[in-house]
Amino acid sequence: MSDLNKLTLAEARDKLRAKDVTSVELTEACLTAIEGSSALNAFVHNTPEIAMEQAKAADARLAAGDAPAMCGLPIGIKDLFCTKGVPSQAASGILEGFKPEYESTVSQNLFDDGAVMLGKLNMDEFAMGSSNETSVYGNAVNPWRRGNDDAELTPGGSSGGSASAVSADLCLAATGTDTGGSIRQPAAFTGITGIKPTYGRCSRWGIVAFASSLDQAGPMTKDVRDAAIMLETMCGHDPKDSTSADLAVPNFEAMLTGDIKGKKIGIPKEYRMDGMPEEIEKLWADGTAMMKDAGAEIVDISLPHTKYALPAYYVIAPAEASSNLARYDGVKYGHRAKLEAGDGITEMYEKTRAEGFGPEVQRRVMIGTYVLSAGFYDAYYNRARRVRALIKKDFDDVFATGVDAILTPATPSAAFGLGEMADADPVQMYLNDVFTVTVNLAGLPGISIPTGLDKQGLPLGLQLIGRPWEEGDLLNCAYALENAAGYVAKPNKWW
């Protein structure tokens, strides 16, 4: 059978259970696709031996009738996840050569259910970026192009390799992580689905930490059903992460009825930004009409502190990063700078971190250091945490009025060209996350799904934001929107 790598998780699962295909066949198809994909630079550490071993084990489980949903399904793992014995560098030079002695809880959950790891995926260094241009491995490339223009486009970031790989059918699905939009923005840029669950749904244990109060893992998949299937396997309580929620994980896939009659969908007026491209306005209006046609009640809502989400984020995230990244000091793992005669331990720290961290990571660590330093802690850090409380309250107030989900654009534009933002100041790049970052600050679940193409033929996505812990309901709203939008476009293979 050809094109097995193009299957969705659900299709492949059903074929495996029906004995139409084997996991080895699925895995070989993906490994072949990966071999021919070096132009995308999505997979950065390939693990074909592990994949084939896991595929054979999965086939044995399937033959024995023990087949959890993810059993035998080949996926990619973002480089931010620690995978035992396999390079896990967070796309940073400072973790060069690091091979963890342990497995992250999320990847372990996937492997326990029989998932097959094809390799590690490119990303922005320490997940700091919106275009996958800060990676030590070089840029990941979007499989989509502007018509016949061969300019390379960004797959978004930070989970750019994951997005590129799923969009180009190199794997059936991939893990991502999202601190300010790092699952949802790349999903939108590449025409795939990505969900960031409620903070605490997925264990953060073994995921290289960026901003611990914001980081969440989630699946990046070809459609909403796949997101439901993979999310269920990824989440669950973990005593090794004190913020992991001790809540039962529902069968998300069973909640996909497509029936959203009577659901209240909020449209926040503050997300109508000045200078928003007409195409994004139209996409949003079309999505709103689709949900109304599906029987939802559309209500105008206000989230008054939206404007302050990005500035609050750019205090809180760097502050937490400066603390989390203090551990990269050239002592315990990764890179250590060559020292000159007379250099002491301080020189070792300073040289190691200057050589090992890229410019964006250095910038954020230093901003974080500054806002936490004596004399500025109250003015910046505490003020940002107060504003964060107000942003969360905005959502609490809206949900208290009975709103079930909030519909917004996922990104302010379609994918832009690699290098196009090189001369812009960092703040311009930060604006990519303007619609997604509020969700992390409020700890809510958010999903991005593709609903249309722009004039240049590039995918555009809408975001749905749900109530805390109600990913099932959120996925069902997304499923209804997906059905109505009927998005089926795929990139033309040029790589």
Binding site: G97, T243, P311, R353, M366, I367, Y380, V387, L390
Partner: protein
């Protein structure tokens, strides 16, 4: 609030990141851009609002204070750039 070259040097020192002298003015300018963006937060009335400590209202779980894992010095040192006799090795820190 404006960051000058000396402040940029102090922040780099606090962050233990070596920044060459000639790179400091550009760094200070970048800081100023980002901090200018952050200053918008001063427009918000935060009177009486507590700084958020946890995004979910649940209490952190506690566990018994006991060793649950350990006795694996080799695994711990496996990725160290330099280790000797079961310890991480670093340049001399005491005279």
């Amino acid at each position: 609030m404006s960051i000058d070259r000396d402040t940029a040097a102090r922040v780099a020192k606090l962050a233990r990141i070596k920044v060459e002298e000639d790179a400091l003015p550009a760094l200070a300018e970048e800081f100023n851009n980002i901090l200018g963006f952050i200053e918008q937060l001063n427009e918000v009335d935060v009177e009486g609002v507590e700084p958020m400590t946890s995004v979910t209202p649940q209490r952190l779980k506690r566990r018994v204070d006991e060793v649950t894992q350990g006795d694996m010095p080799e695994a711990v040192l496996k990725n160290a750039p330099d280790s000797r006799e079961g310890f991480f090795a670093v340049p001399k820190v005491v005279e």
